[in-house]
């Protein structure tokens, strides 16, 4: 269905007589391994620890052996302009962790209603955190990956509609996005980290808004998302969420947070705080990260600290962890970079989760 839509978009562009087709892309080649860790047991039936979770949403987990497949990816995007204000955009990403199968991450129609308002409909990345919707584009940020203590949930995309506003508010550039939609994820990749059996996850009635304010060296972002959650065991179809004993058809969650970025001369600060509230049926988690970097010519060394913690009145099993990352980014030229990142992950969960780990990763990112 998704690939049909994509073919449709590409077909439209190839056959249309008027208009303009442009394409661009990005790629990351990342290789990494766990240097050591405190856990010497398998994580479910899928992974072998000591291990390091590199991308929850895609189910990317490094083990002791060097691995090229976990975070390497290539994305190609095409945009076809029917008129100056109406366009169609499709983006396909092939990931090593998924055996190179191409996923449609974005496929939407975009209409510029005015210089301030853009209306879009189709498939998009869900803008949960500051870096969420461009998490695949390693070139656009200075880590190998955004801190996993925040960037890790089961739903990555959604199908729906959104309206984006851009305006000048007394010298602040304001950008706001209002969106609504749903996502049905079959054999969810994130769930592999937590459960043996394949899971189907649905987030429906997604409604969200974000506001990004930029002035000179300061960027602030506020966001709020609410949705209904459902989950089933893929193998036998039994309901997981809501709990089978519940008479509800879906549970509710709320996600909100704030991000602050500073680019002052050669100093770079990235910070984010977020709450993920499922306390009606499960946990309420809080997470934050702070990163400081300094640009020295073509090098950007940085230090990042992040933390994740849950409160749960329904279960004694609580996940808590913290991360420390040391990263050096080297800009090869205006379109590519190399990064080296050392991560120290500390697992302070109240149950047997993944254990501590030390991880080394080297990546090459490019845009074209």
């Amino acid at each position: 269905m998704r690939s049909m839509l994509m073919l449709g978009l590409l077909g439209l562009s190839a056959h249309a007589m008027a208009g303009e087709f442009t394409y661009s892309g990005f790629a990351t080649v990342a290789v990494g391994k766990v240097l050591g860790g405190s856990n010497n047991a398998p994580l479910n039936t899928h992974f072998d620890c000591p291990c390091y979770i590199a991308d929850y949403g895609q189910g990317a987990v490094y083990e002791r052996e060097w691995s090229l497949g976990q975070e390497s990816k290539v994305g190609v995007q095409g945009t076809y302009k029917f008129t100056p204000s109406l366009s169609a955009t499709g983006q396909v990403v092939a990931r090593g962790v998924d055996g190179g199968k191409a996923d449609v991450e974005w496929a939407f129609l975009s209409y510029e209603a005015s210089p301030n308002w853009t209306l879009q409909a189709g498939r998009k990345r869900l803008p949960m955190y500051f870096f969420s919707d461009f998490q695949d584009v390693g070139y656009a940020y200075n880590w190998v990956r955004p801190p996993i203590d925040l960037y890790g949930w089961e739903i990555v995309n959604y199908n729906g509609v959104n309206a984006t506003y851009r305006g000048d508010w007394g010298g602040w550039s304001a950008k706001s996005n209002l969106f609504t939609g749903r996502e049905d994820s079959k054999k969810n990749r994130y769930s592999k980290i937590y459960v043996d059996n394949a899971q189907d996850v649905t987030w429906k009635g997604i409604m969200g808004a974000d506001l990004e304010l930029t002035r000179n060296w300061l960027t602030l972002r506020f966001n709020y998302i609410t949705s209904k959650v459902q989950q089933w065991d893929h193998t036998d179809g039994s309901r997981v969420t809501p709990d089978p004993s519940s008479d509800k058809t879906a549970e509710r969650q709320d996600i909100y947070g704030v991000a602050m970025n500073i680019d002052y001369n050669n100093w770079l600060i990235r910070s984010e705080y977020s709450v993920f509230d499922r306390s009606g049926y499960s946990y309420r988690s809080r997470a934050f990260m702070v990163s400081t970097g300094y640009r020295v010519g073509d090098f950007i060394p940085s230090v990042t600290y992040s933390r994740y913690g849950e409160h749960n009145s329904h279960s004694p099993d609580i996940q808590r962890d913290e991360g420390l990352a040391l990263t050096v980014r080297y800009d090869i030229n205006d379109t590519s970079d190399i990064k080296v990142q050392f991560d120290r992950f500390r697992d302070r969960s109240t149950y047997d989760f993944v254990g501590n780990a030390k991880q080394i990763t080297v990546s090459y990112d490019t845009v074209f």
Partner: protein, 150 residues
């Protein structure tokens, strides 16, 4: 008996200050570029356009001039010309500009400004496009465009 030893020995101090100078040199280098780039608009454009407003247009944060009129920014293909513009007017580097656009291109299908080939092409485009804004070497300005920033 313990003898205290200065943390920085004289030779280490020398080495560090040499590194510091090199570092300063690296950091100061962009500012040493020729700074005679000017920003031009169509003569009919009466908007009050300051540096932050120019930045917002060229970084894709806004699509309008202050006052609300639609704007069409045009870039230059030459890395030297655009680099000088990014340093002098946007107060950043071409690499940072590229990162900002990478985010916008791959998350909303936005297109960066069209890049034209050379000062003459930019002057020609701006002189015939009422909502255009571009940058050229001061020496290439004609009376068919208006300089808003030297």
């Amino acid at each position: 008996m313990l003898t205290s030893k200065p943390f920085l020995t004289p030779s280490l101090r020398q080495a560090l200050s040499a590194m510091g100078l090199t570092l300063l040199g690296v950091l100061a280098a962009p500012h040493a570029a020729r700074a005679d780039i000017v920003v031009i608009v169509h003569p009919s454009n009466t908007s009050a356009i300051d540096d932050p407003a120019i930045s917002k247009l060229f970084l894709g944060q806004l699509k309008t001039f202050p006052g609300g009129a639609a704007a069409t920014p045009v870039d230059q293909k030459s890395a030297e010309a655009s680099g000088e513009f990014h340093t002098k007017v946007l107060n950043t580097s071409s690499k940072e500009v590229r990162k900002i656009w990478a985010r916008q291109v791959f998350t909303g299908g936005l297109r960066p400004p069209t890049a034209l080939d050379g000062d003459e092409a930019v002057v020609q485009f701006v002189s015939t496009t009422p909502d255009a804004i571009g940058y050229v070497q001061a020496a290439k300005v004609t009376n068919k465009v208006k300089v808003i920033r030297k």
